[in-house]
Amino acid sequence: MGIQNDRVRFNVGGKIFETTATTLAVAGRNSFFGAMFDENWNFQTENSHEFFIDRNPNCFSILIDLLRTGELFIPSNIPEKLLYREAQFYGLLDHVRAAKWGPFDGNQVRFSQAVMGQAPGDGTAIRAGPDGGCCVAHGSIVHVYDWMLQELPPINLDYQRVNDIGWIDAETVVAATSERLGRGRGGAALFGAATGELTHRFQVTHEDQVKSYTAGALSFSTDYKIFSSCKGRSNEYGIGVWDQITGQQIDFYYEPIGWSLGDADRLQWLDNTNCLLVATLFPRKDNCYISLLDFREKEHGLVMVRYRGSNHRREAGPRRDRYGREQFHLSRLMKGKMPDEPCYPKLALYDGQLFSSMNDSISVFSGPDWVLTSRLRRSYGGSICDFSIGGDRLFALHSEENVFDIWEAPPPPVT
C-alpha cells in the first residue's frame, strides 16, 4: 500500500467518496478492501484516479464511517437488512456485529428489540446461541434466528413435541423431542442452524437393539458429552450419554427404582466436580428430587446422592455450559395455588451476576452478597416463561404472546 499517496478515491454507485488506505486497512485482509489492496492485485486508478464499485452509496458511507470511527450509526431511512447485505458484500459483517452491542453486563443492558413469531404463544424454551442468534422451541417446531434476527429455516423432528433445545456450537442445534405414541422415532437429534437440516440422530441402544425413546432435558459437558434424560417404551428410563463429535452413544445410566432419572426436567453438568445434577419435578404431586450422579469414577461405579423435597422447597444447581458460562437454574414451586400454565421462575448465573425471572421481569443480583441491582421489565407479552444468555445478549421469551425480547449492552464508548 502506497504510504506516499495514501488517498483513495471511490465512485460508489455514482457517488464520489474519498478516504485513505489507512482507514481501509481497518477492514482487515479478509475483506473486499483487504484483498483489493493486496500487492497481488495491481490497484488500478486508471479512470481519473477513481475506483468504481457498483454498490449502494448510502450504505457505503455508513460502512466507511464505521471503518473510520469504529462506531455504527444507522440512519432511520436505511433498513438494517439493507446495511447487513452491503456489509456482507464487503466482508464487513463482523465489524458491524462488533459495533452493534458490547460485552454483556446485566446492569448495563438495554432493551434492543422484540421479535414477533408466527407461532401461537406457549413457547417451550429459548436458547441463546454463541454468536448472538437464538432458537425458540414452540410445541413441535424450533425457530432459529441469526444474530441479525433474520429467521432461518425452522427445525423439526417429524413434528414431534420438542422438550428441550441447545446449541452445540454456532452452526449446530440439538433438539430433544418426545416419542410419538405408537409411531416410534422421536429422541434427540442434531440440526444445522443455518439450514435447518437434520444432520444426526442420537440413538439409544438397549441390549444391542436400537430403541425409540423420548428425550427430555439436555445438558452438555466441557469434554464434549451430551446428556439427556430418556424414557424408553419398555421402562428403559435413565440418562443417555453421547459424544458430541462422533454422535455415538457412550453410556446409559438406568435409573434405579424410585430415582426418576428418565423423567428429569433439568440436567446440569457440574464441571468442576465432574457430576451431573438431575432435577425431577412432579408439579402435581407433593415431591421433587435432585439427584447427583458422580462421574469421577470412570466406570459404572457411579455414586449417586439424592435430595428430596416437597414442592414448596427450592431446587437448584449450578452449571457451566460448553461456552464456559456458569449457569444456575432454580425453580420454586408454589404449593397449593398451582396455575394451569405455570411459568416457573428461572435462574441463570452469568459472569458473577445472578438473573432471576419472575412474572414479567428479570431481576439482576450482583456482588458477593447478591444484592438486587437491576430489573429488566417489558410490559408486553405477559410473564416470562424462559430466558437465556449468550453471545453477549439476553433473550427473554414471553408466555402469553409469541414474542421474545432481546437485551444487549451498548458498545463501549469510543474514547
Binding site: 473486499f32 483489493m36 493486496d38 492485485w41 475506483f51 468504481f52 458484500f89 466482508g91
Partner: protein, 734 residues
C-alpha cells in the same frame, strides 16, 4: 425433503420472480472468472480488475449459481495443477526440488488471488453447503495432483532422503530449499508430512544409525563412541531446528538413542579398557559425564550405569577393607576410605550431576563394605584418636570441622555404632587422662555431632567424662589449699576422680606404689571422702602418669615423663643397682603383661633406654636383669618415655571388647522388646524381630538369634508369655 415432495401435490405454484435476465448469464460470468484464473496462473494478472471479478463471483452466488462457480473452480484449478505437474516431472536431477519449490510458490500466490475473488463464496456459500473452503481446496488439489502423483511422490521422497544422507556424510546441502519443501508438506496437513516424509525418514535414519553404530563400536573405545553418538544426536536436533517440524525432534532423537545407545548400552559400559570402570578408575569426568547425559535419555540407562558403579565400588571397597596390608595401620585404613569417598563424591558431582540415586547407591555401597570388616568401628575411632592427639596441630578450626564431618559420614555407615562408642570411650579416656588431647573444642564438637546423630543417650557418658575432668581440677585445688602446707617438698599428686560407669572400666589391679606416693594417696583419700561422704575411691594405677627427676651416672639430669607403672619400677632403682625381673614383679605387683610392656619401653627403645637389660634383646624374659643405664643421654631435658602400647587391640583384647559389647547389647535388646510389647500387647515372633531390629538399627544390627534368647529370658522372668493357642504369639504381662 420427503415432506416437501408430499406436499407438492397440494401446493399452488408460487408467483415466479424472474431472477435471471439473461439465460446465458451464468455461463458468461463464469467464462470471465475462468479466464481470470487462467491469467492468474499464467502470471498475467496485471490486466484483471479485482472489483469486476469480485462482483461477478458475488452475483453468481447471489443468483444461486454457487454450485457452478465452485465446480468450475475445482476443474479449472485441477487442469492447471496437472499442467504444473508435467513441468515439475520434466525437471532434471537437482533442478527437481527447485522447480517444485518455485511452482509451489506460484500456486500459493495464485490461490491467494483466487480466494480474493471468490471471497464472498468462501464466506457464505461454502459454510452453508459444507464444502471445502477455497484455500484448503487449493492445498488438497496440490497434494493429490502434485505431491501424490505417481511420478512425483517417490522421486520427492528419495530426493529428500538422499539430501539428508548427504548432509549426514558431511556435504553441505541447500537447507533453505529443504526448509521450503518440508514446510510445504507441513502446510498440506500433518498427515501428509508424517506419511509422505516423516515415517520413511525415521525408518531410513534407523537403518543408517544401526549400521553406523555397528562400525563405531567395532573400532572406537567407549569415550570416542560416546563423543560420536553425542555429536550425531546434536546434529539431528540441529537438523530439526533448521528444516523439519519441531514435533519430529522427539521422534528422531528417539531413533538415535535407540540405535546408538540403548542397543549397545551393556557393551559400552563394560567395554574393555575404556568402559565405565576405567572411567571411574581414571577419574574421567568428561567421558563419564557424557555417558550419564546420553544414557539418561534411554530407559534403564541410568540404572545400568549405577549398577556398574555400585558393583565396582563394592568390589574395590571390599578389597580395601580386607587387605591385610591396610589393616596394619588403622589411620591409613580410614584415610583410604575417606579418599575413596572423596573420589566418588567428586565423580558424582562432576559427571553424574549430583544425581540423588547415585548418591544413595554410593552410600549403600560404602555401608556394605565398611561393615564387611568387623574392625571398622575400632579403626574409625583410632583415626579420630590420631587426629585429635596430633594430627590437628596447626590446622584451622574449619579444617578440623571438615575432618570431623567426614568421620561422621563414615560413622553413619557403621551398623555397629555401639562398638564404635565403646572404642571411642576408651580412646577418649586415654586422651583425657594423659592430657594428650589437642583441642577441647574439637573434642566437644565431635561429641555434639554424635549427639545429633544418635541422640542424648549415646553421648551422655562421654559428656560425663568431660565433667569429671573439670571436677577433678577443682578437687585438686581444694586438696592443695587445705593440705598444701603439711606436704612440704615431697612428690606432687594429681588425682582425677572418675565416675564409675562413665569411663571404660578395667579390672582394677592395684600395684604397689612407692611408699612416699602411697602416703600421699592416703591423705587424698581421707580428704576426698571427708568432703564427699558415702563414696568409694579405688585407684586405677594403670592409667596414670608421673614426672620424675633423675640424675644419671655422669651427672646428667633429666625429667622423665613416664606412666605410673614405669614410675613404680624406676623408683625401685633408688635403692638398688640391679634388679631381676622377678624382683621387680614381686616389689610392684604389676600384672605381668603390663610389666613386660613397661620394661620394654624403659630398656629397649633406642634413645629412651633409661634402663639397661641383660642380656640385650628386644623382648623381655622372666630371667632378665635390669640396671640403670648410667650412660643415658638425651639432647632434651625432658624425656617422654612412652609405653609400648599396642595401638590396635591385641587379639584377646579384641575378644574381650566384643564380649563386653555383646553383654551391653543384652539389656538394650530387652528394653526394646519390653517397649514394643508394652504398646502392642500381642505380637508374633517375626514382627517382634523386625521391630526390635528397626528400633536398634541406629546403634547396632541386632542378631535375630540374640533377640530370640532375650525373649526367652523375658519369658522366664515373666515379662512375656507365649499365647496358649498360637505358640508364635507373645503376650505382654503387665
Amino acid at each position: 425433503m420427503n415432506n416437501n415432495q408430499k406436499k407438492r401435490n397440494f401446493q399452488i405454484e408460487a408467483f415466479k420472480h424472474k431472477v435471471v435476465v439473461d439465460p446465458k448469464y451464468a455461463d458468461k460470468t463464469w467464462k470471465i472468472l475462468e479466464h481470470a484464473i487462467h491469467e492468474i496462473y499464467n502470471h498475467n494478472a496485471s490486466g484483471l480488475s479485482f472489483e469486476e471479478l469480485y462482483r461477478n463471483a458475488y452475483n453468481m452466488v447471489l443468483h444461486k449459481f454457487g454450485e457452478k462457480l465452485y465446480s468450475g473452480l475445482v476443474s479449472t484449478m485441477t487442469f492447471h495443477l496437472k499442467e504444473i505437474s508435467k513441468v515439475i516431472e520434466a525437471a532434471q536431477g537437482g533442478l527437481f526440488l527447485e522447480e517444485l519449490n518455485r511452482k509451489w510458490a506460484d500456486h500459493n500466490k495464485a490461490l491467494q488471488m483466487i480466494r480474493d475473488i471468490l471471497m464472498y463464496m468462501d464466506r457464505t456459500f461454502i459454510p452453508s453447503t459444507h464444502k471445502t473452503p477455497v484455500h484448503e481446496l487449493g492445498l488438497n488439489l496440490w497434494r493429490d495432483n502434485i505431491i501424490r502423483s505417481s511420478k512425483i511422490q517417490t522421486r520427492l521422497l528419495n530426493t529428500l532422503l538422499e539430501l539428508i544422507l548427504r548432509e549426514r556424510t558431511g556435504e553441505v546441502i541447500n537447507r533453505g530449499l529443504m526448509r521450503n519443501i518440508i514446510k510445504m508438506l507441513m502446510d498440506l496437513g500433518p498427515s501428509v508430512y508424517q506419511e509422505d516424509f516423516e515415517k520413511p525418514f525415521l525408518e531410513v535414519s534407523a537403518n543408517f544409525y544401526r549400521v553406523e553404530s555397528q562400525q563405531f563400536i567395532e573400532c572406537c573405545d567407549c569415550g570416542d563412541y560416546l563423543k560420536k553418538a553425542e555429536r550425531r544426536l546434536n546434529e539431528e536436533i540441529e537438523r530439526v531446528s533448521h528444516y523439519l517440524d519441531a514435533k519430529s525432534e522427539a521422534k528422531i532423537t528417539n531413533v538415535v538413542e535407540q540405535e546408538m545407545i540403548a542397543n549397545h548400552m551393556l557393551r559400552l559400559v563394560h567395554m574393555e579398557n575404556s568402559g565405565l570402570v576405567n572411567m571411574l578408575l581414571d577419574d574421567k569426568y568428561e567421558d563419564s559425564g557424557r555417558m550419564y547425559s546420553l544414557f539418561r535419555r534411554v530407559s534403564n540407562g541410568l540404572s545400568t550405569i549405577r549398577d556398574v558403579m555400585t558393583s565396582h565400588i563394592r568390589e574395590t571397597g571390599k578389597q580395601l577393607v580386607t587387605d591385610p596390608e591396610k589393616l596394619k595401620d588403622p589411620v591409613e585404613f580410614v584415610q583410604c576410605l575417606l579418599d575413596e569417598k572423596d573420589k566418588y563424591d567428586k565423580i558424582i558431582s562432576l559427571a553424574f550431576s549430583n544425581d540423588k540415586t547415585f548418591q544413595n547407591a554410593l552410600n549403600s555401597s560404602f555401608e556394605f563394605f565398611i561393615n564387611l570388616n568387623p574392625r571398622s568401628p575400632e579403626f574409625i575411632s583410632l583415626f579420630v584418636d590420631d587426629k585429635l592427639r596430633k594430627g590437628l596441630k596447626g590446622v584451622s578450626e574449619e579444617d578440623i570441622e571438615i575432618v570431623l564431618d567426614k568421620v561422621m559420614m563414615l560413622f553413619r555407615y557403621l551398623q555397629e555404632k555401639d562398638v564404635f562408642e565403646k572404642y571411642y570411650k576408651q580412646h577418649l579416656a586415654k586422651r583425657l587422662l594423659s592430657g594428650k588431647t589437642v583441642s577441647d573444642d574439637a573434642e566437644r564438637s565431635l561429641i555434639v555431632k554424635l549427639k545429633t546423630e544418635c541422640g542424648y543417650q549415646f553421648t551422655s557418658k562421654l559428656e560425663g567424662m568431660f565433667t569429671d575432668m573439670k571436677t577433678s581440677q577443682d578437687t585438686m585445688q581444694g586438696f592443695y589449699a587445705t593440705h598444701g602446707s603439711e606436704l612440704g617438698d615431697g612428690p606432687t599428686l594429681v588425682v582425677q576422680v572418675l565416675t564409675t560407669g562413665s569411663w571404660p572400666t578395667q579390672p582394677s589391679v592395684t600395684c604397689n606404689l612407692p611408699s612416699e606416693m602411697s602416703v600421699l594417696c592416703e591423705k587424698f583419700r581421707s580428704y576426698y571422702l571427708g568432703t564427699h561422704t558415702g563414696r568409694r575411691l579405688s585407684w586405677q594405677t594403670n592409667m596414670g602418669t608421673a614426672d620424675l627427676k633423675a640424675t644419671f651416672g655422669k651427672g646428667q639430669k633429666h625429667e622423665l615423663n613416664v606412666s605410673t607403672y614405669q614410675m613404680c619400677v624406676l623408683v625401685l632403682f633408688n635403692n638398688a643397682d640391679r634388679l631381676s625381673y622377678k624382683e621387680i614383679e614381686q616389689a610392684t605387683e604389676i600384672p605381668s603383661s603390663d610389666l613386660k610392656r613397661c620394661l620394654q619401653s624403659l630398656a629397649c627403645v633406642k634413645g629412651k633406654n633409661v634402663l639397661r637389660k641383660e642380656p640385650m634383646s628386644k623382648d623381655i624374659a622372666e630371667d632378665d636383669a635390669f640396671l640403670v643405664n648410667e650412660k643415658f643421654t638425651s639432647k632434651f631435658y625432658k624425656v617422654k618415655i612412652g609405653t609400648v602400647v599396642a595401638q590396635k587391640e591385641s587379639e584377646p583384647e579384641k575378644q574381650e571388647t566384643r564380649q563386653r559389647v555383646e553383654e551391653d547389647r543384652k539389656p538394650q535388646i530387652e528394653a526394646a522388646i519390653v517397649r514394643i510389647m508394652k504398646s502392642r500387647k500381642v505380637l508374633d515372633h517375626n514382627n517382634i524381630i523386625a521391630e526390635v531390629t528397626k528400633q536398634l538399627q541406629s546403634r547396632f544390627l541386632a542378631n535375630p538369634s540374640e533377640i530370640k534368647k532375650r525373649i526367652e529370658s523375658l519369658i522366664e522372668r515373666e515379662f512375656l508369655e507365649r499365647d496358649n493357642s498360637d505358640r508364635r504369639l507373645y503376650r505382654y504381662l503387665a
